[in-house]
């Protein structure tokens, strides 16, 4: 994992002091509310319904156990003993006092963490596949590139005041697990025929009020040109993106207005002058960053050791958890374990300080002291020996972390909604809970198989409802909270946007409508067909008929 060098440390420490000064000037009345807002947002500080909310970056989802302990400590001392993982590999504290935020940031800096650009109209935290580096289907490790992009984007002087927020995701595997098609820039690692590493570059994807799947702007960008090319794309956006209307200010609107060809031509014109310039990556730079992401010293293990196989035979509950919450690892005899933050009755993505400490200790004891956070709002132990899984499972069960539902309907991705967020049209957490309660029967849930359900409390789409196989969107109907349902959305290689099935439903009906939709699936599915595949094959009409019958 990447370790800060002297420059990183200085930049982050100086940023903390700069923000301390900004906060003091605001509290002393020297900065107006309007002037302080963009400054605090660039440091991840929102003011929401009840209190400020501080969003801390977990760059490309990587965490060391010590960092997680610090987050737990901050949750206990400055907040109410818990925090919330978001859909963009960040963690949020919901109740810190404004005056204490500079101190929190100083403590984070001690463990090489920060809140730089976790909000605001700037380049946000770069995200990737939570299984980067350990996935069996990886073509190239995206993490060195994520770190390179993190550094390039951190306090980039030209792009601190963009028309709107800007999100970059990097994927390095056959299956896109980083939602690259719905980011402002999606980078897909590729090798060309000559064996050279490079990127397929997508632009103009995004959700929010105008959901759009990105388009390819460059089929193969040799990797050494990554930063000069990003400079060119961002410069075109910074200069020509709309600033008159914040709802039309994302890069996707510019790309549509110019067409992707027109946009690419402008980028190429700009890039001609940057290409091969000072921002070009030398082989030595790339090797330097790659050197932080070498494999740990995995033991040579036999896959499926006898005790592990026996434990599964003896305990169906363990077997179910292994089947759902662990993934194949590139090293034989190891698995990646997902600790579920989707226990019924707990807001999706919420984690207590005690759970953070427990997960940190397991990362040390069963792994190499590292964890990952996924954009589906779960926590991952990337390298666990199969022989240790039974013991880990027992510990995780006690800590409320072992709900065997990863990838299933109740592994709901959900924004904070009306319980916390000032922009919400409707609550989202109680809807998630109602769905989890209705589908609590484990056999039925497992029979339904993989279903991604995403809930957003308003059109801003923080819960990614457009790319849920089943999406739920909170809407306001004459001051009441109603919910619109979409079907057929998907992340991944075949990213698609869901279609609205019809008029919205009252809150108490949402779970029941889910029941009707899933009855249709069970009735119409072909053998082995996943929910999303059935929706693609038969279309939304049968589901719609059942929902409104």
């Amino acid at each position: 994992m990447y370790r800060y060098d002297e420059v990183d440390r200085r930049v982050v420490a100086e940023r903390v002091e700069q923000f301390r000064g900004q906060t003091q000037r605001f509290l002393a009345g020297q900065l107006s509310e309007d002037e302080f807002r963009p400054l605090r947002l660039m440091n991840g500080l929102y003011v929401q319904r009840h209190a400020p909310m501080l969003r801390v970056a977990i760059p490309y989802g990587h965490l060391r156990s010590g960092q997680l302990r610090t987050l737990a400590d901050i949750a206990r001392r400055y907040d109410r003993g818990y925090a919330h993982f978001t859909t963009r590999q960040n963690i949020q504290f919901n109740w810190p006092a404004l005056e204490t935020v500079p101190d929190i940031l100083a403590e984070l800096a001690e463990v090489e963490m920060h809140a730089i650009q976790t909000s605001g109209n700037c380049v946000r935290n770069t995200t990737t596949d939570a299984f980067a580096g350990v996935a069996a289907d990886e073509l190239a490790d995206p993490r060195p590139w994520c770190e390179i992009v993190r550094q390039w984007s951190t306090l980039h002087p030209e792009f601190a005041y963009l028309p709107r927020k800007f999100k970059i995701a990097v994927s390095g595997s056959a299956e896109d697990r980083a939602a690259t098609w719905v980011h402002d820039i999606g980078l897909q690692l590729r090798k060309n025929d000559a064996g050279e590493t490079g990127f397929r570059v997508l632009v103009g994807g995004g959700l929010g009020r105008t959901p759009i799947i990105g388009e390819e702007v460059c089929a193969f960008l040799p990797a050494r040109h990554l930063l000069t090319y990003l400079d060119a794309v961002l410069r075109v956006y910074n200069r020509f993106g709309r600033r008159d209307n914040k709802y039309k200010a994302r890069i996707k609107i510019l790309v549509k207005a110019l067409t992707v060809e027109g946009f690419a031509a402008k980028v190429d014109e700009e890039w001609r002058h940057l290409k091969d310039g000072a921002g070009t990556l030398a082989d030595a730079d790339v090797a330097h960053y790659a050197s932080f992401f070498v494999d740990p010293a995995y033991d040579t293990l036999e896959p499926n050791p006898a005790d592990f196989v026996r434990a599964q035979a003896e305990s169906p509950a363990f077997a179910r958890w292994v089947g759902r919450n662990t993934r194949p690892h590139k090293a034989p005899g190891y698995r990646s374990v997902t600790l579920s933050l989707k226990k019924t009755g707990v807001p999706p993505g919420d984690i207590s300080a005690a759970q953070m400490d427990a997960a940190a200790s397991w990362a040390d004891r069963f792994g190499y002291g590292e964890l990952r956070v996924s954009h589906e709002q779960n926590l991952i132990l990337p390298d666990v020996r199969e022989a240790d899984l039974f013991e880990l499972w027992q510990l995780a069960r006690e800590a409320g972390f072992a709900t065997p539902n990863i990838g299933l309907l109740t592994d709901i991705v959900c924004c904070p909604g009306g319980d916390f967020c000032a922009l919400a049209n409707a609550k989202s957490i109680p809807v998630a809970e109602a769905i989890q309660r209705r589908f609590e029967d484990a056999d039925y849930l497992h029979d339904l198989g993989e279903i991604e359900c995403n809930i957003s409390g308003c059109i801003n789409a923080c819960g990614h409802h457009h790319i849920g196989h089943i999406g739920v969107l909170g809407v306001d109907k004459n001051g009441e909270e109603w919910y619109q349902i979409t079907l057929g959305g998907s992340q991944g290689n075949e990213a698609s946007l869901g279609k609205v099935i019809g008029p919205s439903f009252a809150q108490e009906r949402v779970a029941e409508v889910f029941g009707r939709i899933l009855d249709v699936y069970v009735r119409d599915r072909l053998a082995g067909e996943r929910f999303i595949e059935t929706v693609r094959r038969v279309g939304i009409t049968p589901f719609k008929e059942a929902a409104y019958a």
Binding site: Q22, N121, Q151, P157, E158, L162, A282
Partner: protein, 158 residues
């Protein structure tokens, strides 16, 4: 303007910013709107400079513009970041070597970024303290990417 930061410190300002698109020009050294300069107007007594609005195109500027001793870029609101790209383009693609000045809603927290992309003087908003703003130039002693000031391309940490 008497709230200028130049070479890191508050200084007296010799230049006068002309905002208006028309009307009689005063005496002294003037920073004119680009359009007025292109229409042939010059300071009647004193030196002439021009300022770019965020939607003026620095790539279209002709040699006579680039030969001026000072070019200014307007920031109508501090959240409008187009001027950073204009500054960098003037420096990097147009090789402008004169004084590059930020004018408009220029506040303390922009100075570090402005300086990095090539600005070297800052007309701080009239109601703010130039001395305080000048302090921001020392906010950061290092950076993580190349820019006009950090061109040496020693990897990412320069």
């Amino acid at each position: 303007m008497h709230n200028l930061v130049k070479e890191g410190v508050p200084v007296e300002d010799a230049w006068q910013l002309v905002r208006e698109g028309e009307g009689e020009l005063p005496a002294g050294d003037l920073i004119l709107p680009l359009a007025r300069f292109l229409a042939g107007e010059r300071a009647p007594q004193g030196r002439t400079a021009v300022w770019f609005a965020p939607d003026d195109d620095p790539l279209a500027a002709a040699a006579d513009v680039l030969a001026l001793p000072l070019l200014a870029v307007d920031f109508p609101a501090f959240t409008d970041g187009r001027g950073y790209s204009i500054g960098r383009l003037l420096r990097e693609r147009r090789a402008f070597a004169g004084e590059l000045r930020a004018v408009g809603d220029v506040q303390r927290d922009q100075l570090h970024f402005l300086h990095q992309v090539g600005f070297d003087s800052f007309a701080i908003r009239a109601d703010l303290s130039a001395a305080d703003a000048a302090g921001a130039l020392a906010d950061f002693s290092a950076g993580c990417q190349t820019s006009w000031r950090r061109r040496q391309g020693r990897g990412l940490h320069v």
